[in-house]
Subunit: 207 residues, 3 copies
């Protein structure tokens, strides 16, 4: 079941990559590449940093195929995907929520400490999107004051807390992902913004 | 012989990195860095993802020296390099073709599946150029609708197909690289463009 | 003692990341992320390339906490940090100097050749700043003709030379870092610029 949800997350991120690339009028191959980087980039960095080998999608090629199929479907059925695009925001929220807890668990299994596990939960959820935006020349979404990385942080911490008080893994994953999902949906619906930090340069500053 | 061709590929990519950096009026050290990232970035990512250790250029420092010498020569003999720059497009095509089949073979030797091997063939050929363009603030070349990544895809698939029908490695490498090279040269000569995918935003879209 | 200096370097880079992010009016979480990437990105790439496992900050979480605390402090005490910002340029110079020799030593301990060790000294010192600038959409500092990467190069080479003539590690680290620091401070004070390399495009050029 978790595998299926994980594939769904990868597929959703691939669709978001294909849409971003399409907005820049990229060619078909570039669209596929951006979609794959968006979908698989976070997990790649996570497994590299944790030294979990082989990397998830090298071991289980289903992830590659899911990303390819999702990106191709986005191009072929553009009109239909476009019609359900508002729904994609929620699917992306589900992917974010799921990635945050699954990556945290994977990090714990690899022997990482709590703080590293939480970091991996965040990194896995957002790095794909950052790479997508850098490749497409967009300002990174996580850098635009939306409540996004914070949801991954919440999901990861809730999961970790539940594990520490002895909750079973499945319960921790579901409740953690649920918390992240609810926060993300609230953020979308209520247009929550994270307070911005603005550095005021001193005019006498040297550099 | 393959080693020599591989060095040539690295040298050519280093020259292209030095030229890109020079167009941005970067300083000498930055030019060397951009050249090395362009030449060695793809192989680095390939070996990291496949867990092939040590990384090619860590094991065989000749790659580093080739990149350094090529970048230095580009700066010292700018006028001469400039005069043969049209030829460099074909040298770059040769590097692309060679990297795609060599990386595919290296991935197969590391035990990767076919789809991962093809991905590595593409990634190794284009990541250096993507990093070069990101560092120099240019829109990534592979994102501009030119037939480029597709050539690596072709070379990698031809090599893989020949291996599957029992062709010897050398024949596979030569024919695969040849196919990639021919497609790339045709693309340059005939100004082939890959069809663009354009995502039309629905005006009622939420995000 | 070296550990403490290393933490100082991480903290200083985290502050510079937080300031860069703050200049772009990023949200609080994004500021923390940029600060951590700036502080830990170079070491991450170094350990990945050298296959030193676990990665430094995965093994010693103090590095994570130092970066988090430094970034948080930058936001909380913005006014005070702002007042000492001119001093931060020198602290950053100290971090650069220290990272270059420590990374070179770490590479040698991992069995790397001299040229790879020097490369790692440079990469570790500058990659964090490059990632910071890419994430914030700034042109990379090392690409602006300032004498920066050259200082890391000097520190790394001096350390290596001293090791080769039999000097003890501590002496090599101190003198190497000192050389890098002096060059960086001279560069700041005298506004030294590295000669730029300017590639003149031939108007008849094809691409």
């Amino acid at each position: 079941m978790l595998d299926v949800l994980s594939y769904v997350g990868v597929g959703v991120f691939a669709v978001s990559g294909a849409i971003s690339a399409g907005r820049k009028r990229l060619d078909l191959i570039a669209v596929l590449l951006v979609a794959m980087v968006t979908a698989l980039g976070g997990g790649t960095l996570r497994d590299l940093v944790l030294d979990v080998r082989p990397i998830l999608w090298v071991e289980d090629n289903t992830y590659i195929w899911v990303a390819l199929v999702a990106a191709t479907a986005t191009m072929v059925w553009q009109r239909r995907v476009s019609r359900i695009e508002p729904a994609l925001v929620y699917a992306d929220a589900a992917g974010l929520a799921l990635f945050s807890v699954l990556a945290t668990q994977r990090a714990l299994l690899a022997g990482a400490s709590d703080v590293v596990a939480v970091l991996m939960g965040i990194v896995t959820s957002i790095v794909g999107g950052i790479l997508r935006d850098v490749l497409c020349g967009d300002p990174p979404l996580v850098m635009r004051g939306e409540v996004y990385a914070t949801c991954a942080l919440l999901g990861s911490i809730v999961f970790l807390g539940l594990r520490h008080i002895g909750a079973p893994v499945e319960a921790g994953l579901l409740i953690g992902a649920g918390a992240a999902l609810v926060l993300r949906i609230l953020a979308i619906e209520l247009r929550l913004r994270i307070p911005l930090f603005h550095w005021h340069d001193d005019p006498r500053r040297r550099r």
